[in-house]
């Protein structure tokens, strides 16, 4: 019994020291000087613009990676081809790669001397230090999640039902939308939640490609850093609290979906 208690104490103590303690203090620091001050810090025009930009980028990255994720899972599971191993490795790479490296790669490709940069610049299209490169960076880092959630489920459900539907005269599209997609819905939803979390929180890659034009290319995470570096501690912690609340809602969604998945 003492052993059990010791393990429990260790686990909870570790979590308190590393996770809960710091988080509680951020809330405290943000509201130290009253709720009003924190509220006005996150409702300044630059703050609102930063949150808007983060939401806009997320609203583009998530659907793109969701459609890609389902197609990629179909390709990997249902249509085996040579080089599948390599494809899997490339899909997983964003999960293991430093965001700074991702940002630098885009910087080199779309910079003035990059392969694509000069082409776009000649046509007056700004990719780097503007929205397009920030979207590309976010799509890159949040790419694997839907694929990774959908692949095991797709493998598990097999093809019996799809074949039955085909025998009964359903077209390939009908089979996909009536049979395959409904079976994948919780896995897709879970993947979407993870993709959203990653997109909302992206910092390193976006930091490299954005050029940090305050009030223009600053996302919510860049705004937090900018406020901190300008010694606006209340602003930094207040914006952090908003991001932390978003993270908590993501967490709730994850738990809800996990229960749905388990119930199936």
């Amino acid at each position: 019994m003492t052993r059990k208690l010791a393990l429990r104490t260790f686990a909870l103590g570790y979590l308190a020291a590393i996770l809960v303690g710091p988080l509680v203090l951020v809330f405290y620091r943000a509201f130290e000087h009253g709720f009003g001050e924190a509220w006005s810090a996150v409702t300044t025009p630059p703050a609102l613009h930063a949150f808007e930009l983060t939401l806009l980028i997320t609203a583009i990255a998530v659907p793109a990676n969701t459609i890609f994720g389902v197609l990629c899972a179909l390709a990997v599971v249902r249509h085996p081809f040579r080089g599948k191993g390599l494809l899997n490795a490339v899909v997983d790479l964003p999960m293991a790669l430093s965001p700074v490296v991702v940002g630098l790669s885009l910087f080199l490709l779309y910079g003035r001397t990059g392969w694509f940069g000069s082409w776009f610049l000649a046509r007056g299209i700004q990719i780097l230090f503007a929205l397009p490169s920030m979207i590309l960076a976010t799509v890159f880092v949040s790419l694997p999640f839907v694929v990774r959630e959908v692949v095991p489920v797709l493998r598990e459900i097999g093809t019996d039902q799809e074949q039955a539907a085909a025998t009964l005269g359903a077209s390939r599209l009908q089979t996909f939308f009536r049979i395959t997609l409904p079976a994948l819905r919780w896995a897709i939803a879970y993947g979407v939640v993870l993709t959203t979390a990653r997109s909302l929180g992206e910092y390193g890659a976006v930091s490299v490609v954005s050029g940090r034009v305050a009030g223009k290319t600053a996302t919510a995470t860049l705004f937090v850093e900018d406020r901190y570096q300008s010694f606006d501690i209340v602003g930094a912690y207040a914006a952090s609290v908003v991001l932390a609340l978003m993270a908590v809602s993501v967490l709730l969604a994850m738990n809800l979906l996990r229960r749905k998945e388990d119930a199936l």
């Binding site: 059990k4 393990l7 429990r8 260790f10 686990a11 909870l12 979590l15 590393i18 996770l19 809960v20 710091p22 988080l23 951020v26 405290y28 890609f68 990629c72 390709a75 249509h79 494809l87 899997n88 490795a89 790479l93 964003p94 999960m95 293991a96 790669l97 430093s98 965001p99 700074v100 490296v101 991702v102 630098l104 790669s105 910087f107 080199l108 490709l109 990059g114 890159f140 790419l143 390939r172 993870l194 979390a197 909302l200 929180g201 910092y203 390193g204 930091s207 919510a220 995470t221 937090v224 850093e225 901190y228 912690y237 991001l243 932390a244 993270a247 908590v248 967490l251 994850m254 738990n255």
Partner: protein
């Protein structure tokens, strides 16, 4: 079957090329811009080497700590029963959902210059370990937990009835079953640790030769205009990431073979 299957594969490959492969190709191309000798002198400059060494040592420490603490936390979540267990279980994923820059700021609030508990690790190497322990918390817990849930407790009871001590039961029966899960969790945590940027950038002060990890070094080189140096150091990190992924794949294949 041929036409739609080719269409799907074509779409997938085009998307992957534009988003992932082309930027990385540009990176590798740029890193070799000054020839093999230039690449070598970039990655072997004292500052780059010191950053890489620090990155690898910190990642190794983080991986080892996670192996122990992650396994214990998973164990407590599965085998122990106490009030609030489901809340604790839900909290494990928080570091994943929380933006890394916010993670760095939260740690700075508790363990920085204005620490209410009197612990100030800001601008030290301990701060890097702490920040990365925060962001890598879920990996081992979430790979070990499902294995523990599936593990047949009759095996342990059988071992105990045959006279095994609790320690023997753990090392001979439980641990071998958990090992693949622990290994892939540790490998994921290691890969994440090697590339971590957002959570360390505020709390470490980024002092060259002291608290500057590779990702921060790359960022600094880029800011000061040394793109080829940044690209060369990035290629090293890219190689490490790829290596770890291959390792995880190997562990996974090894496990499925054992299952069969």
């Amino acid at each position: 079957m041929r036409a739609p299957s080719a269409l799907i594969l074509g779409t997938v490959l085009t998307y992957l090329s534009i988003i992932v492969a082309l930027p990385l190709a540009a990176l590798v191309w740029r890193s070799g811009g000054r020839g093999a000798a230039g690449f070598w002198s970039s990655v072997s400059s004292p500052e780059a080497l010191s950053a890489l060494e620090l990155t690898l040592v910190v990642s190794l420490v983080v991986a080892l700590v996670n192996a122990v603490s992650g396994t214990i936390i998973a164990w407590v979540l599965v085998r122990d029963d106490f009030r609030g267990r489901s809340v604790v279980n839900a909290l494990i994923d928080l570091p994943f959902a929380l933006p890394t820059i916010v993670a760095g700021l939260t740690l700075l609030a508790l363990y920085g210059p204005r620490s209410p508990v009197g612990i100030n690790v800001a601008y030290t190497r301990a701060a890097i370990v702490l920040a990365i322990l925060f962001v890598t918390l879920p990996f081992v817990v979430r790979t070990v937990q499902p294995v523990l849930l599936e593990l047949d407790r009759e095996l342990e009871q059988a071992a105990a009835s045959l006279g095994a001590t609790r320690w023997q039961t753990f090392t001979r029966v439980v641990f071998p079953n958990l090992l693949p899960g622990i290994l892939s969790g540790v490998a994921l945590a290691f890969a994440r640790a090697v590339g971590e940027f957002g959570s360390v950038v505020l709390i470490t002060g980024n002092l060259p030769f002291k608290t500057e990890v590779s990702s921060v070094y790359i960022f600094g080189q880029l800011e000061s205009g040394n793109t080829s140096g940044a690209a060369a150091a990035s290629v090293v990190l890219l190689g490490i990431s790829f290596g770890v992924l291959l390792l995880i794949g190997a562990v996974r294949r090894w496990t499925t073979r054992h299952d069969a």
